[in-house]
């Protein structure tokens, strides 16, 4: 396959994204737009302390207010529902929507008020009197690890949720045999994806039909299952509406606690109940924080910069309860050596609870922090040896001819051509010229640095990290599905079975089916049945939908094509080998004038059963449930696992200046080489990559859920939590390369996390390159202006400037 394969008619062509039409006119179907009659609204009473026992809750003043219907506390809810699913084997760390007896972080929900309007519910929430007894708390992960630390969950007996060490290969021997060692400590600060739409959910229970209707701004695997389990109702009584447009997620829209809360309330109260987070609820008690991770990395290498072995300890501060966070230490196992041929690895994954907000899944599922740790280390290896950082990367990288390549942790990388991608970027932007520009800026009095990052995006989302982290989990499939029907007049309708949050899945499905059936994708309707009418979907996590939903659509379309061809050959009376399918018609290779048109075939399938092959179902309805390519095997006893089926590659090359007086960084040049295999829609892939870079710049420089020493979240609004604006995101040039995956139907790989997986590493490396002349460095992200300014001032003072 080449960059613009001539055998693709629609795939890889610059087609519009069909979802866009409804968004540009303000007709998206967001959860706050859904108007269910008689809906009442929830506001929350939250704990002001990082840890406190709840001694009493006085609801009387709130309940006396006209228009207030109910005040729900944690005790009532806990008695009626099961704790939320965590996937960990930690029964004494239960997670519930409302705190039960003890609140464990500032902002944790203690009670929920239901009223006629949201404003009234907020008014009433202020009148709920909760008596607390303040308890000791712990915020820092390393402190939480120490013997004698305050325990966040007494009954668990420690703060450790996970402590697992994997050794893949002869780590000790490789370290002993290597002439050089280097250690680095890297901290990834607590940030998240922070979508512009907060999480929201509307739930409505119909006690006669016994159906719980749920409309939510959700991106979550097994959402309906988790609702049914927690509320103790059959999953067949839960109807999640997948036609809700999600206003951004990037992993984090996992409002299961919100959903169980309103699900219980609508069942208890008999009317629809809605909870739309305000921004404070979203940032503080919405349980939507991302990784806060401390790395200790040791590498063993030789004088040429070839790294033989790595030891990595990753300590995750998950907050007060286990969301998906501990598993985010597991996914990076599938790309633990990045694009490099490191022969042996020791990886210790540790997760501790503290009195901070609970984490959920964030874009990359823990891979971006891990990539920062790897890429910072590679740069330090190069610096130690006085070698060029790109050259060191080239020497360590897997070569094109070595694929498929199995890394020590057991995952086989599908394909890649890393050296060529780097060559293409450097052919586009001269590295020598960039270095000259950096040096010119330096001699003009600026601090300037070049940042490089070469990172992988594991894609095709499989849930194998679950079985790796918790051996009691034996799940080896993570399906996605597509159903195609052709109606009696010949129109094509395809289904997908999840919500989307901007990834253009309807465009994906129609493009792939159009490609296979050789019909205009714009003529194909794509619908989203509700969860009771759906086939299995693992949902859009782990950069999987191009591979999995695209794959399911491809296979379903081929089944349809096969059926159409069989009907035609039977009706034409020719052997199958002579049948040619083209543009929705089938003709006889030997007599092209003998053909059955699309209309003919629809007529036969829908109305002329007497013309059908004898063993064939009437009608034109096909479906395909797809297993993840390369999936299906449990991890080995020593923790080797085939994690995801595909690995996309990105190479970042950037130039950053820092104002030496203010500490303000500015990215003055940004180039990225990107290879995600066959691109299905170039507009979508470009947008994902650009958005990921912007998000990565935020994580590297601006965004942090910072806490003060008293356990109060300091970033409670967008005045404190700084999202990159158009001023902070520089123009970016993307240099494309296509190395098709052998594991997917069209050669495609994932791109939903692209940019984000390398941008923080590139920025961190650029800042450190800029600081190097001052003899200082920083490995704590985000690298905020204030910290940079102080560091630079201190270093200059020491140098006698």
């Amino acid at each position: 396959m080449s960059e613009n394969p001539d055998h693709f008619r629609f795939v890889s062509t610059d087609r519009r994204v069909r979802e866009d039409r409804r968004f540009v006119v303000g007709k998206g179907n967001f959860v706050a737009d859904i108007d269910v009659a008689n809906t009442r609204h929830v506001a929350l009473v939250t704990c002001p302390y990082p840890a406190a026992a709840i001694k009493s809750i006085d609801k009387s003043a709130a309940l006396a207010m006209p228009g207030v219907h109910y005040v729900l506390d944690g005790r009532e809810l806990a008695e009626a529902t099961l704790p939320l699913m965590t996937g960990l084997d930690t029964p004494n760390v239960p997670r519930r929507p409302l705190a039960l007896d003890v609140a464990r972080y500032a902002g944790e929900w203690v009670a929920a008020v239901v009223a006629d309007t949201r404003a009234l519910a907020e008014d009433a929430a202020e009148t709920v009197k909760v008596v607390y007894e303040k308890l000791p708390f712990v915020l820092d992960a390393e402190q939480a690890l120490q013997a004698g630390s305050v325990l966040v969950h007494e009954a668990h007996g420690s703060n450790v949720l996970l402590d697992k060490t994997f050794v893949w290969g002869a780590v000790d021997k490789d370290f002993a045999d290597s002439p050089r060692h280097l250690s680095l400590r890297v901290k990834w600060g607590r940030s998240s994806t922070v979508p512009i739409e907060t999480f929201g959910v509307v739930a409505s229970w119909d006690p006669w039909r016994e159906i719980l209707d749920v409309w939510a701004s959700i991106q979550m695997p097994r959402y309906a299952d988790q609702i049914g389990i927690a509320l103790k109702i059959p999953v067949s009584s839960v109807r999640v509406h997948y036609d809700v447009d999600v206003g951004g997620s990037y992993g984090v829209k996992r409002g299961i606690k919100h959903t169980v809360l309103v699900g219980y309330l609508t069942r208890r109260l008999g009317f629809p109940v809605r909870l739309i987070e305000d921004r404070l609820e979203n940032m503080r008690g919405g349980d939507a924080h991302g990784p806060e991770r401390l790395f200790n990395v040791d590498v063993a290498f030789d004088d040429s910069g070839v790294i033989r072995s790595m030891k990595m300890r990753a300590l995750e501060n998950v907050g007060a309860y286990a969301g998906r966070s501990p598993f985010q230490l597991g996914k990076p196992v599938g790309a633990i050596v990045g694009p490099y041929k490191i022969q042996s690895v020791q990886y210790r994954a540790m997760a501790v609870v503290t009195n901070k907000t609970t984490q959920e899944a964030v874009r990359g599922f823990g891979q971006s922090p891990t990539n920062v740790a790897i890429e910072r280390t590679i740069d330090e290896v190069a610096h130690t040896l006085g070698l060029d950082p790109i050259e060191v990367r080239r020497r360590n990288m897997i070569r094109h001819e070595e694929f498929p390549y199995t890394i020590p942790s057991g995952t086989t990388y599908d394909s890649g051509d890393y050296h060529t991608v780097i060559d293409k970027v450097l052919a586009h932007t001269s590295y020598e010229d960039l270095k000259k520009e950096r040096d010119r800026l330096r001699s003009a009095g600026k601090l300037a640095g070049i940042g490089i990052a070469a990172c992988l995006e594991p894609s095709g989302g499989n849930a194998m990290f679950e079985a790796l982290i918790n051996p009691k989990i034996t799940t080896t499939t993570f399906m996605d599905s597509c159903r195609i029907t052709v109606d009696g007049l010949g129109s094509i309708t395809a289904t997908m079975h999840t919500t989307s949050s901007g990834q253009g899945h309807e465009t994906l499905v129609s493009t792939v089916i159009g490609e296979v059936l050789q019909v205009n994708p714009d003529s194909i309707r794509v619908t989203r049945p509700d969860s009771l009418n759906s086939l299995p979907s693992g949902t859009p996590v782990g950069s999987r939908m191009a591979i999995m939903l695209g794959g399911a659509a491809f296979h379903a379309a081929n089944k349809l094509k096969t059926k159409l061809t069989a009907i035609a050959t039977h009706d034409l009376g020719i052997p199958l080998e002579r049948a040619i399918y083209a543009n929705g018609e089938v003709y006889d290779r030997n007599a092209p004038q003998d053909r059955r048109t699309w209309a003919d075939l629809v007529q036969i399938a829908h109305r002329n059963f007497h013309r059908m092959p004898s063993d064939m179902e009437p009608g034109l309805a096909v479906s395909h449930v797809m297993q993840v390519p390369t999936g299906g095997k449990l991890p080995t006893a020593d923790g080797r696992v085939q994690m995801y089926p595909c690995t996309s590659f990105e190479f970042h090359l950037i130039l950053v200046t820092i104002d030496p007086d203010l500490g303000t960084p500015e990215i003055v040049c940004y180039r990225i080489g990107h290879d995600c295999g066959t691109v299905i829609n170039p507009k979508i892939v470009r947008g994902m990559t650009m958005g990921g870079i912007a998000h990565g710049i935020g994580a590297a420089l601006y965004e942090e859920f910072a806490y003060d020493g008293e356990g109060q979240l300091m970033a409670q609004s967008f005045m404190d939590y700084l999202l990159p604006s158009s001023h902070e995101v520089p123009p970016v040039e993307i240099i494309h390369h296509v190395t098709p995956s052998p594991n997917t139907v069209l050669g495609q790989k994932g791109s939903g996390e692209s940019g984000y997986l390398g941008a923080p590493a590139a920025v961190a490396n650029a800042i450190n390159d800029a600081l190097r002349p001052l003899g200082i460095s920083t490995n704590t992200l985000p690298i905020k202006v204030s910290v940079l300014g102080d560091m630079i001032a201190a270093a200059r003072a020491n140098k006698g400037h």
Partner: protein, 164 residues
């Protein structure tokens, strides 16, 4: 209290609380749901509407304050059922969005900018959208949508033989 709002060329008599924001009033009472709540403290810009042609944040204004001034929402710049304005079409052409949540606001900002500056530079566009946060796109395809719309609108105002 009783107020009159002039929205998208129509006058509506409404009963609102004094504390009701313009955003909540537009969404809850007039069912104009194209304006979105993002932060509700004036930073993200998702609630942007045009206030006498100027892009303002509907979350930072009470409905009562909007009396007597024409307000335009995304619904008011859409030409008709199934039709797109040149600016809306330009956003589709460049895919200047992903999730669509900030999009109506961005388009209204484009209307406000291009009404006064038919040939904006990249810096003009970046400045115009700097109060509107997009978490999906990294802004590149939004900036391109503005530029494309400007180019097309400039062309539309010239005799056909002079168009590119």
């Amino acid at each position: 209290m009783r107020i009159e709002l002039n929205v998208n060329g129509a006058v509506h008599e409404l009963e609102v609380e004094p504390r009701t924001t313009l955003l909540d009033c537009l969404r809850d009472q007039l069912a104009l749901t194209g304006a979105h709540a993002g932060c509700e403290h004036g930073v993200c810009g998702a609630c942007t509407v045009l206030f006498d042609g100027v892009a303002v944040r509907a979350c930072l204004m009470f409905a009562v304050q909007a009396q007597g001034t024409p307000i335009t929402t995304i619904e008011g710049v859409t030409p008709g059922p199934g039709e797109l304005s040149p600016i809306q079409d330009a956003f589709c052409e460049t895919h200047g969005m992903q999730c669509g949540y900030c999009t109506p606001a961005m388009i209204l900002v484009a209307h406000a900018l291009l009404a006064n500056n038919p040939d904006p530079t990249r810096e003009d566009i970046v400045e115009a959208i700097s109060g509107n946060i997009c978490r999906c796109t990294g802004y590149a395809q939004i900036v391109e949508a503005f530029a494309l719309a400007a180019e097309r609108l400039r062309g539309a105002n010239r005799p056909s033989e002079l168009r590119k």
